[in-house]
Symmetry: C2
Subunit: 396 residues, 2 copies
């Protein structure tokens, strides 16, 4: 039996290698970027007017009253200041007219007409006007050819905006793996059936399919009965057609827990079986010679979900977000196992507190609907006091 830390390390060191595709920009959100994105020109690409108002040359004008000689709209070619003692009206997003270096907001002056000439009569003290104000200087955010986005990041709306700006209408992303979700357990019937007294409806495959769908990964679901020959034959077929298999059930000490032995018979390399954790102790992880990855997760729904969030998601998301919470109530847990307890987080005086929902163990998944993650209580301790800080595995 290995520790949670070792298990995660092994999982991360044995990931499915994905290929790369080119997709339209908007299809890339949520995916892993497979190329560096460079600035095609400076950010901003020109000295950009940042406020609607009046542009002028700070050192050359009378800061009380400035004659207006022209107007520069956004989207127009750059105009030139003809008389350096005058100004040009400018709109946000416009290129700053040649000869100007400073912009005063409309809020800070009134326009008066004096014969044919319009004047800006400034209503704020001189010392409140700074040379260069309200001008977003060319290249001040990023320089042309700078790397804006690094290969390997997860693409969110902010990255979409950056790629739009540099004209990336087609983006290279990692392909998502083909995933098979396989539940086992003879007590399970499909959700459309009415279970007999000793049966329950299947829920793990739906839960994992939903979680994968949320990160844009499609999965095919299978249900296999607990019969050695059937399991062997079906798993052999499924492994051929998928990149990653997520099994739930059949990995523990039961007389029909055939999964680990069959995976070995199928020639898979076992990378670990059993992790010093509760729930999810019987978890099995391995791979084929061709690099296909198999997670065989315990079948109790809370165990399945914890193992999925802790081990499977980080390999698909390409990121592990480290979060910490403060336990709001003492928990005592004696076994030498890392204990993952469903919690509901809330903020109190700037601290993210976690309220534990101990419930009735790893089959009590109704509990999860009140929670937003698991607190991770380390194996080395037995008493976890209110106010102590622990790791957090978020699932919502």
């Amino acid at each position: 039996m290995i520790s949670v830390e070792e298990a995660l390390k092994i999982v991360l060191a044995n990931q499915h290698e994905t290929t790369v595709s080119e997709v339209p920009l908007l299809s890339s959100v949520g995916r892993i970027l497979a190329e560096n994105i460079y600035a095609d020109r400076d950010f901003p690409p020109f000295n950009r007017v940042a406020m609607d108002g009046l542009a002028f040359c700070f050192d050359e004008v009378d800061l009380q009253k400035i004659a207006i000689e022209n107007i520069q709209f956004a989207g127009e070619a750059q105009k030139t200041l003809q008389d350096i003692s005058k100004g040009i009206e400018v709109m946000t997003g416009a290129i700053l007219p040649l000869g100007c270096d400073t912009v005063l907001r409309y809020e800070d002056f009134n326009i008066q007409q004096d014969g044919k000439v319009k004047f800006a009569c400034i209503s704020i003290p001189n010392e409140e006007i700074k040379k260069g104000q309200n001008v977003h200087l060319q290249g001040s955010d990023r320089k042309a050819e700078e790397v804006l986005l690094q290969k390997g990041i997860k693409i969110s709306p902010a990255e979409i905006a950056v790629m739009a700006t540099v004209g990336k209408s087609i983006v290279k992303v990692q392909n998502t793996p083909k995933i098979a979700l396989i539940s086992t357990g003879d007590e399970l019937v499909d959700i459309e059936e009415t279970p007999l007294a000793y049966q329950i409806r299947t829920s793990n495959a739906y839960m994992l399919a939903a979680a994968l769908q949320q990160i844009g990964v499609a999965a095919t679901t299978f249900h296999l009965i607990d019969e050695e020959k059937v399991l062997y034959q079906k798993l052999k077929e499924i492994i051929e057609s998928y990149d990653i298999l997520l099994l739930s059930g059949g990995v523990s000490a039961g007389k029909k827990d055939f999964v680990p032995a069959i995976l070995t018979d199928l020639g898979l390399e076992k990378l670990f079986h059993k992790v010093a954790q509760k729930p999810g102790k019987p978890m099995w992880f391995g791979k084929t010679k061709a690099g296909k990855i198999i997670f065989a997760l315990p079948g109790n729904p809370v165990s399945t979900f914890l193992c999925f969030c802790k081990y499977v998601l980080p390999t698909l998301n390409s990121e592990i977000k480290h979060e910490e919470v403060i336990l709001d109530k003492e928990i005592i847990f004696k076994p030498d196992l890392t204990y993952f307890v469903p919690v509901k987080t809330y903020f109190e005086a700037g601290k993210m507190m976690a309220k534990p929902f101990l419930g009735s163990g790893s089959a009590d998944f109704a509990n999860l609907t009140d929670c937003d993650g698991f607190v991770e209580l380390p194996a080395e301790k037995q008493v976890f006091k209110a106010g102590e800080i622990f790791g957090f595995v978020r699932f919502r």
Copy 2:
């Protein structure tokens, strides 16, 4: 000009009323539940074996050595203990045999054969065995007919598991609104074009479309030129066909900022224009008589995104998650405005710290790729010290 708190209150009080649809279970993830979900039977529906091992009647057996008379698999009809001094091997997920009340794990006994009879020879002290252990009692998690999920919640994988278990193959959800994303600004060209020196490529519509896509809401994008007649005519048409309009640009003090006047001309009720915030001060919000909602957001990308995350997302998500962060560096900001600063959060001794990225203001969206949200610095203060606690608007 109203405060951020008032603006949010008005937005939340004037939401688009959505209709209800029935969708297949897996299509409901990320959507808003439009019916209560009840337990069809007890959770668990029978006294459920929680560990592979031996079931027996605690008060009737010799806790050293127990004869085994039968085996009960998961998915089999309930068996009955014939001899109350004996036990039945049981598998996780099975119904507990009639006459038994306690389960001992395989790890805690060895099986020995004595002639034709198999015995469990128990390897742990009597006092470590508790009556009723490893049995997940019928109805201990939830009772039949109890409300499991309340109408109005957002559906995540945990809720999918619960609905699968009660056989909800078809689920009532709120329909997502039809959204039009409309950018304005004559300086903008499409992402496939090469901009001239004074032009930039459009990015807001892509950023917002990506953000909507992540929550499962489809949007149609439009770009309109800054010309009064065109704006009036096009907006009139678009309002007819969509539930919510998100405009970006054209709402400030510029000479071509026609949007607020045109929206009024179109007969919309203005609910507010200008919010005491930076960025995003010129934001306009209103509705039509038919209850269609219009957000006219400022066009600078950081302003657009902040307004979207702070005001638009909560109306689509049906939830506002209150989060707090601790500023890690002093910020001084004098104007009487709520100041939203892009930050990168990290954990330090159980506290969620926020590192500000001041950048060069509301056009510096390259900045956002380093950040995961905005810290919300209230208008009443001017000095925001390192170590102080403020609200957090997460965008990643």
